[in-house]
Each structure stands twice: as structure tokens, then as C-alpha cells.
């Protein structure tokens, strides 16, 4: 079985020294991948129910540091050579899909194709509110997931080059990406697609 682990991007362990140490431990000890969760703003008081534990409580300390996942993985790409790099998971509505796709494609190129992108709809209502993303329009997440894939070729097969960009006069290269998208097959339901 492939085994990876979450890097310490949250809490007291979220330091440059620990990020490097854990990423290099992964490479040295044979782990297949390292991963980061996605939070932009962490509310100090969380009322939303975390949908992935029995208790409904979030497993991380909301009062600690939380590093940006995209820049964190870009950093880790530069200090590793073998392990795959993953988002578990990017919350699709938080960012513009084309901007996100551009960043994903860049990390993928700079890491020599080691990126795996998990995508989800999110669960933390307080974070949606802080970012000005309406929670009642959770369907928007799915549109963004599809827009993301459409613009950057994140479809069935890797190495697909797609030229569909917002404006035909724009150059957004690199426009290919060897990353993967993960989403729930149960997305037609109202529950969040994946953890974020």
C-alpha cells in the first residue's frame, strides 16, 4: 500500500525547520507522499461541525499557526526529489479556478510532475464567511472544480494539454498539468465532497 502523511502546516510544529525535516524524513524512509490541508483563515471559535470525526470536533488546534498550503508545497517541492506532493484537499470555492490551476501547473512543472491535487467543497462555514464566499451557494464549489479541470486539463489522463483559457488572447502557459483531482462520487448529495 502507498503510505503518505500530512506535513506540519498547522499548530506549533508549523515551522520551516520542521517542514524540511519531515519532508526529508518522508524521502529517506520510503513514504510515498506528503500532503497539506487547505485553510486560508482559521476562526478562533468554530461552530461548524467537522464532518469527518464522530465527535464533530476539528482535529487541529484552531488557535495555532496555519501555513498557506500552496506556497508550502511549492517550498517542499524545492527541498525534495522523489516523494509525491499532495493537497488533501484544496477547497475549490476559496480561490479563482484559473488562478488555482495556474499555481497547480507551476508546482507540477517545478516538481517534475509529482503533484496530486485533491479537491473538495469545504465544510468550515466561518472560513467561507471570512473569505466572502457564500456558503449557501455550495454548488459553486462543483462549478469551480469543473472549471478548474476544464481550464487545466485535469481530466482522465495525465499529460493532457488544454488550451481553453478565459480569453483566447491570454497566455497562461504552462497550461498542461499532470496532477489529479479527487472528488466525491456522492457530490450530488448536500454533504461536503471531501475534507478540507
Amino acid at each position: 500500500m502507498k503510505i503518505g502523511f500530512m506535513l506540519p502546516v498547522m499548530g506549533a510544529m508549523a515551522t520551516q525547520e520542521n517542514m524540511v525535516a519531515m519532508a526529508q524524513l518522508a524521502e529517506a524512509r520510503g513514504f510515498e507522499s506528503v500532503w497539506v490541508p487547505d485553510h486560508v483563515i482559521m476562526p478562533t471559535r468554530i461552530v461548524s461541525t467537522y464532518p469527518y470525526t464522530k465527535s464533530g470536533g476539528f482535529i487541529a488546534d484552531p488557535k495555532g499557526s496555519h501555513l498557506d498550503p500552496i506556497t508550502s508545497l511549492a517550498f517542499v517541492a524545492g527541498c525534495t526529489k522523489r516523494v509525491r506532493l499532495g493537497f488533501s484537499v484544496l477547497v475549490a470555492p476559496y480561490r479563482h479556478p484559473v488562478v488555482t490551476g495556474k499555481m497547480m501547473a507551476t508546482i507540477d512543472v517545478l516538481s517534475n510532475g509529482r503533484l496530486d491535487v485533491g479537491v473538495g467543497a469545504g465544510w468550515l462555514n466561518e472560513e467561507f464567511e471570512a473569505l466572502g464566499v457564500p456558503t449557501e451557494k455550495n454548488g459553486r464549489a462543483r462549478k469551480n472544480i469543473f472549471g478548474f479541470g476544464k481550464n487545466y486539463g485535469l481530466r482522465k489522463s495525465p499529460n493532457m494539454t488544454v488550451n481553453i483559457i478565459a480569453s483566447p488572447t491570454c497566455n497562461t502557459a504552462p497550461s498542461h498539468c499532470r496532477s489529479h483531482i479527487r472528488r466525491s462520487p456522492l457530490a450530488a448529495t448536500e454533504r461536503p465532497a471531501l475534507g478540507g
Binding site: M1, K2, I3, G4, F5, M6, P8, G11, A12, M13, N18, A21, M22, L25, A26, R29, G30, F31, E32, S33, W35, P51, Y52, T53, K54, I59, A60, D61, G64, R84, G86, S88, V89, G118, V119, I145, F146, G149, L154, R155, K156, H180, I181, R182, R183, S184, P185, L186, R191, L194, G195
Partner: protein
């Protein structure tokens, strides 16, 4: 569109709020894949699990594999706040677990 599917799990028999267990959910996934003209065997299944102890991870590993999980992602709860503690857990797992892709 996606290459895989991901669940979050506290234990092999408790795969968050799917409205069913992982076995049932995977049956639904595979059926949907077939209906979409995709080979279900090509769909990766990730499980994010809480790695409170190395012993717990090593104990549950084969059960996840039998259930169809192809990749485990170890997450650490907030009480693991010391990098040495995290390293010890990871070193123990690396020493004992058969790992693909290394």
C-alpha cells in the same frame, strides 16, 4: 474526471458520515464508474486516517487494504505537537509497514 476518491476515517469500520460503511460506498463508486464507462480498478482510493499511535496504524493497515484503500494518508491530531514525537511514529511505521512507491 477525477483519478481517485478520498475518505476520512477514524477507524476501518468508521469512515465518516457516508451514510454507510466504506464497503457500501465503494460499491456505489464502482457502479458509478462503470456507468460512466470507466474501469473501477483504475480509481485510486485514499483514506486519511488519524495516526495517534504507530501501533494503531500498523494494526489497521491490512484491513484498509482489504477494503480497497490504495493509499493511506496519516494525519496527526493536535496532541502530537512535538516533531520528535511525530518522527518516532513515522519511523516505527516505516520500519514495519510494507510500502509501495518508495
Amino acid at each position: 474526471m477525477a483519478d481517485g476518491w478520498q475518505v476520512v476515517s477514524e477507524a476501518p469500520d468508521d469512515v465518516y458520515s457516508l451514510g454507510g460503511d466504506l464497503k457500501t460506498a465503494l460499491a456505489t463508486l464502482y457502479q458509478m464508474a462503470e456507468e460512466a464507462g470507466r474501469d473501477p480498478k483504475t480509481i485510486e482510493v485514499n483514506a486519511v486516517i488519524i495516526a495517534g499511535t504507530a501501533e494503531g496504524v500498523l494494526r489497521d493497515l491490512s484491513q484498509y487494504e482489504r477494503m480497497g484503500v490504495t493509499r493511506l494518508i496519516l494525519d496527526f491530531p493536535s496532541f502530537v505537537s512535538d516533531p520528535n514525537e511525530m518522527s518516532i511514529i513515522l519511523e516505527m511505521i516505516a520500519a514495519e509497514a510494507p510500502m509501495e512507491g518508495s
